[in-house]
Structures are given as C-alpha cells and as structure tokens.
Amino acid sequence: MDRRPNPLNRSALLATALLCATAASAADIGALWSHQASAGTQLLPVDQAFALVSAERKHDRIEVTWSIAPGYYLYRKRLGFAVEPAGKAQTLGAAQLPAGTPMHDEQGDNEIYRNTLVAVLAIQTAHAPQRLRVRYQGCADAGVCYPPQTKLIDVVSTTPH
C-alpha cells in the first residue's frame, strides 16, 4: 500500500484550515466592531462630530460654517442664530440655508446636512454684530443623537468695513 500523503489532499486540508482560521478571526473582529457601534464607544465628542468652524463677516452678511464628521449629520430645523448679547440695534436676517438631504424619521420629514454646512445671515452693515449665539443639534448614523448645542462664536471680518 502506498502510504505517501496525497499532495492534493494535503493542499486542500491546508487551504481549509487557513480559511477557517481567517474566517474565525474576521468574525471576531466583525463582532467587536458591531459591539462598538451598539455600545457607542466610538462616538466622537460633540465638538468633533459637529465642529463650529467660524463666523465670517463678508460685507453685508455673516457666514457661519460647520465641519461635520463623516457618519454624522445636523438637522436643518434645529439650527438657530441670535446676536450676542441681544441688542435692538443689531439684527440678523433669516438664515439662508442650502437645501439639505431629505430624511424621514420618528420626528417626521426632515432635512439634514453632512460634511460642510454654511449658513448665511444678512446683517445691517452699520450695526454688525461682533458675536453670535448659535444653536444646532445632530445625530450619528450609528443611531445615536447628541443633545442640542448652544455656542457663542466671535464674528471675524474678512473684508474691509
């Protein structure tokens, strides 16, 4: 009887073992990622998820800019702007916002923003505000929402008055 191992069988055995080991490892890692998403341990701090970058005065308007991390979004209907401190002479026009991405959830029909958002606020040049109070609220695609934020931000001028 020929007792030499069949090279074909040996290769198949090896390939099967390799596949099983790789698959097991991949499954473990996948389960860990899944756990992390559900446990929320990888959530960014709110200021990294929704970074309020700047409020720039450009002639008769102020542009307020956010940088939104991938996998996160801001709700259009939760944006708010006011002059800080509130003053009769300094008023803001209604915010001009870009069209957001439609989204329907338990809160009804919404528009959301991803990546970058620039809100444009009309101002009276004679009474340009120096500081704004900005409100916003958003969520992560992982199914976690952040509490509404209210931030004070200084208005910087990028054009001559």
């Binding site: 473990d28 860990l32 992390q36 559900s38 709110v46 338990e106 199914g143 509490p147 509404p148």
Partner: protein
Amino acid sequence: MRSILLIFVICAVAAAGGFLAYRHFAQPDDIAGKPLPAGIQMNDLDGKPHKLDDYRGKLLLINFWATWCGPCLHEIPELVKLQTQYGARGLQIVGPAVDDPDAVRAMLGTLGINYPVLVTTAPEDMIKTMEQLDNPVGGLPFSLLIGADGVIIKRQIGEFSAAELTQLVESQLPK
C-alpha cells in the same frame, strides 16, 4: 508532519491576530459590574421626586431619551411592550428625559409610555447625570440595566433591538 505543523502555525498566527485585534478595538464596559451611584434623584412630570435607589429589589431599566432624538422615539414602543410583558415579573423601566418638561408633556400622549418619565429642571442637569453614569458624550438613547442588587449589568449608548431587549431582560428575571 510538516503540514500539521504549518496548520498549527497558521492557526496560532490567526489567533494571535484575533487577540491583538480584540485588545486594540475592544473597550471595556467600564461601569458594568459596579453599583449604581447612590443618591440620584429626579422628578416625574407631576413634580414627585423619584430616587433611583428606591427601585432596589427590581430589575431596573433606565432609558434616557428626548423628544428630539429619533432613535429614542423608535425604541420607546419596545420599552412599553417590555414593561407590559415583564412588569409583573419584576421589571421596572424609568425614562429620564434630557429635555424641557413641557416638550415631554406634549409628546407623552402619542408615545403611550406606561412607566415613570423623569425630568430635571434644566436638561443640562440630566446631561451631568449621564456623564456620572459613564456617558461622556451625552449620546441618546442611553440605557442602563440595573440588577435587583443595585449593580449595573449593562450600559448601552444607542438603541436596543427588540430581540436584544427581550433576551437581556429574560436572562435577568427569575424563571
């Protein structure tokens, strides 16, 4: 013999890789296994104070939520079913709201919540309570399952699925 050795080496490498991945990616559920911090108190919508310590002896599911949180509103009907199904066996759910009390009142009718909804005077106070309970980002929904002995069994930021909830509660209640 050489092929067996090779398979062993491959498996050992894969196992080591898996272990290193675990060490790299896994983050311990820090607060689980520790007692619920004592003295946490909130009011219900009628102003009646509720101390979380007073629920000792029951399986307590604390579900922080808000009216502005879509995943929370999606999860609440499952919690309502759970309270109905397991209340008699010792489950008590409470729902602290990270929200303005008036906004909560306005939404209660549509949600049909059958367990105490708790509030604080200012939502910021509720956020501080969540931080105390190991939720530094303030993400919602946020749930803690507390055993009858007051020890935290599970902490989760994000929604539970209905199956997860049922399995978790079933596993902790007396048969």
